[in-house]
Amino acid sequence: MAVRADSTVTYIRPARGWLAINLRDLWLYRELVYFLTWRDIKVRYKQALLGIGWAILQPLLSMVIFTVIFNRFLGVQPSPGIEPRLYPIFSFAALLPWQFFQGALQRSSISLVVNANLLTKIYFPRLIIPLSSVAAGLVDFLFSFIILIGLMLFYRVEFTLRLLWLPAFLLLALLAALAVGLWLSALNVQYRDVQHMVPFLLTAWMYASPVVYPLEAINVSQFWRLMYALNPMVGVIQGFRWSLFGTNPPDMVMLVSASVVLVLFISGLFYFRRMERTFADMI
């Protein structure tokens, strides 16, 4: 900042209407995204005996519970063509993006309120706050991904070139989390009801997504299948399972989910930008 050269002129005036996304500012503050993400990760596992081990334990324990309850007791099977003994890794493949999404929503929905002291004292693009709280889940994702590789070796699941598609579906999950996170975090500034609603929302959302059951279990007409795909996590999980096991290749369901993500993301950005000028006064 000692650089006198960037003596830019800033105009401060009341803003009207829907604001365009200020990409230039976001770029100037890119390091802040990194530092806030890093803080979230660092703080989350401080003073925890197992530390980052929790990132591995959480999906593994969920997998065990799902396998016992849904597979053994209730008889839920993986997609046709996949050996029933593979149910654990079949559910783990869905848990991977689901837990990322769930954690991202839990953190991002309260992110603005938790960082109220920053919002009321210092200027920076407010988008950075939900952005970094979503990004903080990527490290957990990475650890559970290593476990997935281990499970694939253990269950002798074949590694194919389809796996190269995985980053694309991770990106879709990231966008979906960010889209919903933008909406919820901005709404929570005004309506604290949001933070009470999120835990319930997430439980319902998980059962509305093919996490414990295969996509085929939704045995309805094509129209209702596409309605079901309005849930963006349906497409994300479909993509993850396809790149691992080759079930349900991307189709109309994926297209619907991806479009919903895009619509939610863009509308979320605009809603957030519109609301952000009142954050400091409302929070």
Binding site: M1, A2, R4, D6, S7, T8, V9, T10, Y11, I12, R13, P14, A15, Y29, E31, L32, Y34, F35, L36, W38, R39, K42, V43, K46, Q47, N117, L118, L119, T120, K121, I122, Y123, F124, V189, Q190, Y191, R192, D193, R277, A280, D281, M282, I283
Partner: protein
């Protein structure tokens, strides 16, 4: 290329009343109810925290801003540092603004000193390379070399503060906005901060300096804005502005009363009502004689029991130097008797003995806090009063005596 760093034109900020006092967020239920009743947004529900303010600051100028609590100083700084947006008017700012609105913003207690330097630096807008370059300097300035790998939650409050200020002070924006950083910390640290501030000013950067410390304002600035009730009351050379502020800012014939809107919501359940200077005859006065004792009384109300509450006064010179601080529960018996003060109305009264203060003008401030727990209310310039030394011992020599106090001491002369 213009040499104006800040140009503010008819700027104003309006708040909904609820936004200033506590209950700022709405619940979904309120909004749904509002949809049907429609009466919600009547005109009376708004308050202008700042209105019609225009001024310019030249590049390299150090401009002071003074005003009572709640006058709109902080709103002005928040607008200029883009934390909040104006309701009307506009401002033009050349160069990057760095603000020291509150030191330590964004510090995380679980992180170490080192980690917090990086985090806080990034929050304040520094680049990582810049923080790395200044890292040693920051640590040295804060004097925390030994504790750099310790979580800051284990720091003493002094260390915490030094570190926070050190990071902020090494920020190098073209325009620096400073709000009351000097109100905290020990004398030694305050001197260091003031030194750093003058360095910044001498480097040719523009500084907007808000403070209640008149001696700091006098020392650091040449021109000063006086803000009163959301309006720019005066812009003048600092000495003149300080005089103006001191003379009309808050002295009301020996008594200062607080209106509802002058007390921040954060003070609750403590509600200050009045501060008075009372002379030996029991009259509220603006001028007392140094040969009479005088009484200072603080009237207040408690909305809820407050454990460990202490209500106290500061006595300051008009240059902002502290003369003494005293609390109503200083004495052990009082401290035990008022371990928890119950809700109700109170007056805390203290007597300043005769023959203590020198002639001149004094400033009284009040503080209501629970030690190490919370500061409910503080106003360091609640009112002023004058002391007249007529008839005081030593007045056989009608000269100006140096010093804020003029105590009558026991002298002995021994002939040997």
């Amino acid at each position: 290329m213009s040499d104006i760093a800040i140009r503010v034109n008819q700027m104003g900020k309006r708040y909904r009343i609820g936004q200033l006092h506590g209950q700022s967020y709405r619940t979904l239920r309120d909004s749904l109810a509002g949809m049907f009743s429609r009466k919600e947004q009547v005109n009376g529900g708004h308050i202008w925290a700042l209105r019609g303010v225009s001024f310019e600051v030249k590049q390299g100028q150090v401009l002071g801003v003074v005003g009572r609590n709640g006058a709109g100083k902080s709103t002005l700084l928040k607008l200029l540092s883009r934390v909040t947006e104006p309701t009307e008017g506009e401002a033009e700012i050349r160069g990057r603004v760095g603000s020291l609105l509150e030191v330590g913003t964004g510090f995380h207690p679980e992180l170490t000193g080192r980690e917090n330097i990086y985090l806080n630096g990034a929050i304040l807008g520094m680049k990582r390379a810049e923080i790395e370059r200044k890292f040693d300097e920051i640590v040295a300035f804060a004097e925390i070399e030994k504790f750099i790998e310790t979580p800051v939650k284990r720091y003493s409050s002094g260390m915490y503060l030094r570190l926070a200020f050190a990071v902020a002070a090494h920020l190098e924006p073209e325009i620096l906005v400073v709000d009351e950083v000097l109100a905290v910390g020990d004398a030694e640290f305050q001197r260091k901060c003031l030194g750093k501030m003058s360095d910044v000013a001498s480097e040719g950067r523009t500084v907007l300096f808000v403070s209640h410390n008149m001696s700091a304002i006098l020392r650091l600035t040449e021109e000063t804005l006086v803000i009163e009730k959301g309006r720019l009351a005066l812009r003048a050379p600092t000495a003149q502005a300080v005089d103006f502020y001191l003379s009309r800012g808050y002295s009301q014939e020996g008594q200062r009363c607080w209106d509802e809107d002058e007390v921040p919501a954060s003070a609750s359940p403590f509600r200050p009502l009045a501060l008075r200077v009372v002379n030996g005859q029991g009259k509220v006065v603006n001028t007392v004689r140094s040969i009479d004792p005088l009484t200072l009384e603080v009237e207040y109300r408690l909305g809820a029991p407050i454990p460990g509450l202490r209500v106290g006064i500061y006595l300051l010179s008009t240059r902002g130097e502290y003369i003494f601080t005293s609390f109503d529960t200083d004495e052990p018996q009082m401290y035990e008797r008022y371990a928890t003060r119950q809700p109700g109305s109170y007056i805390s009264r203290c007597t300043v003995p005769a023959n203590l203060l020198n002639e001149g003008r004094f400033v009284v401030g009040i503080n209501a806090s629970s030690y190490r727990i919370r500061r409910y209310f503080q106003d360091e310039q609640a009112l002023t009063f004058s002391v007249d030394a007529a008839g005081a011992p030593g007045m056989q020599w009608p000269e100006q005596r140096l010093g804020a106090v003029r105590p009558l001491l026991k002298w002995e002369i021994e002939a040997r």
